[in-house]
Symmetry: C2
Subunit: 434 residues, 2 copies
Amino acid sequence: MQTKVVLDESRIPTHWYNIVADLPTPPPPPLHPGTREPLTPDDLSAIFPMGLIAQEASAERWIEIPEPVREIYRLWRPSPLYRAHRLEKALGTPARIYYKYEGVSPVGSHKLNSSVPQAYYNMLEGRTRLTTETGAGQWGAALSLACQFFGMSCDVWQVQGSYDSKPYRRMQMETYGAHVAGSPSELTEAGRALRERFPGTAGSLGMAISEAVEAAVKDPNGSYSLGSVLNHVTLHQSIIGLEALAQLEEFGERLPDELYGCAGGGSNLAGISFPFLRENLAGRADTRVVACEPKAAPSLTEGEYRYDFGDTAGLTPLLKMYTLGADFVPAAVHAGGLRYHGMAPLVSHAYHEGLISAISVKQREAFEAGVIFARSEAIIPASESNHAIAGALRAAREATETGEERVILIGVSGSGQLDLPAYADFIAGTMIDS
Amino acid sequence: MQTKVVLDESRIPTHWYNIVADLPTPPPPPLHPGTREPLTPDDLSAIFPMGLIAQEASAERWIEIPEPVREIYRLWRPSPLYRAHRLEKALGTPARIYYKYEGVSPVGSHKLNSSVPQAYYNMLEGRTRLTTETGAGQWGAALSLACQFFGMSCDVWQVQGSYDSKPYRRMQMETYGAHVAGSPSELTEAGRALRERFPGTAGSLGMAISEAVEAAVKDPNGSYSLGSVLNHVTLHQSIIGLEALAQLEEFGERLPDELYGCAGGGSNLAGISFPFLRENLAGRADTRVVACEPKAAPSLTEGEYRYDFGDTAGLTPLLKMYTLGADFVPAAVHAGGLRYHGMAPLVSHAYHEGLISAISVKQREAFEAGVIFARSEAIIPASESNHAIAGALRAAREATETGEERVILIGVSGSGQLDLPAYADFIAGTMIDS
């Protein structure tokens, strides 16, 4: 009974997939915050290298993965695709459940898929320092390691609530050689202003982005690096879905009826689902893609589709996206990686066009699903991933009632080894149900 | 440039390898603590099932892995074998360095290789509860998960110092459904006596073993389960070395000149090295096997070879082993899994016969090696594994000086994701150098 498909490293995809080439309508462009005109590449060059700016604006379907990036991908890719035999049995469901597990990355999440090429393209253009923000700490850890690979320095602003409650993430970033500050900090003008405006705040991704962008703009050798939201990040993450397609074929399985991914900024959901949407758009499949949001930050299910800033201080371009408002501060749920006010423009556009659907999940339901998953499949999933698992469990239980042989694919974006206090909170019965 | 060999799950070995069949002289038998006569199977039946007792005494070369155990092994095995290209480059060494990485197991260490069959054989004989001790928490987590797989309950006595300093490990065990107590505890007679004898003690593996053995003896449905030291544990761990042999062949590499493994109770060192010792004993290779001990618990390099108890209270059989004395309490080094007074009888015997060699490593050297490894190979190794890496780095640096093209294999027994406070201690410069 086949449990997993782990492809040889020679089968790491050679190209990323860019869904822009296949969308029925073009996604609305980002706007300059001052002129409200569509952004030009020059507008972005203060904070991004041209290699990434080109990807951000590209409509090419396939973009080649540089060999030095593939060489680093070989450290953990292809990630395994599992058939969840034990979970199916625990649920008594006739559904066939598969999960693509990104937690095998050395930092424990899918984020390394984008931090490596981001550091690489910056290095090519002579940048020696990257700045970024991090929520749960997964993106910060991923960028810290990527900078280490290319001999660059790395400054991370970690959302203060996460900085306090997730000390292991900070230690992980420092082990990889990064400098880490809680945000909002005293180190930037934006941080100082935010501390004055929101005294004692636990911070937010929007605030931390403001600080990291400011630090990059002020350093001629520095660039800013974003772990989600932007087109080039969703592009890099497409490697997840591309591998999953090949692995389902190795399993001898049909294309899934349903695909569940957690969605905060949107990079994981886009990464696993866009290659499957391509199959839908080409008429080869009819996979229902479901974005699983936290009820505490429900941008798709309760937000507005409009131009908004990516950060709190209003330093970024205006992005057309589902948003709860740039100064929205979500409840302090454990899934720090999903606590974002907006949603990737490409995911937002696909949702607006009816190509994907969305649900929201409260955190107790998410962790109940995570514990069932851990006790059957052995892997303790990341807090974020639990939202996707919860969505899939709803579907699997429906299948139990109807007797349908549904094929369900879950994107498990990371490992929960560093989220164990959240599990302890759930098991102790003290978890708030936001 | 090939980075790793990850074999398909169909290539998980079908049999464990028992080195007893190939040793030039038979290992001295365990003795009954009362009579000082060799133990009979009956003597052990109060705490172990017959399936494991048979393995403990077996001289068969190959012992079949039951299919239900192999099915669970498929969740993470075969574990990858890596060529450490980036580490070699960082060291400027002409040595070719490989490492077998057990941290991909869902609990993050090699311990699951033995906890799964141990729970399985107990379940077969109707035992419904397992008791055990844990130092760093790796074994406790592995047994917690294994019990969950077979519907058994699990009680873990975690060395108090580790219980206090490694809360994530306790949370991990509880997520898998186990009950965890700090040791020495008030729950057992042995624990209460030890608390009186050593007030305020941070505990030791020897003390925790006394408590777990007592609890098993008193429960007719209970068994005791040990994560290292015993023959059946080293047998189960042989899967590591068997896979590594096949993977080196896939790399087109010759058998290694040197093999480094960390050694506490000896299960990881035995697991990776015994299949290579078989090649030595058959005259097909001349691999130098090096046990890497912590200087804080140097049983092989500074202990005596004699019969001694496995635990502090004197409840276990007498084992012929290198020992620092059953009431030795090691310094509070971070590598909790290596803080044991004795060494597996089979490893001790092989060392006494000159089949393997040993070195000791202080913890600053170990963590310096760990940080170099993390920053080049991306994986943050377990505190224990850092001792093996330190040993290998000594050899690789020698090779740099002499220009020798040595082939070095390292057993990286686990992930350091839950050991990050130890890395933070090292990076802050506050680590004691025991």
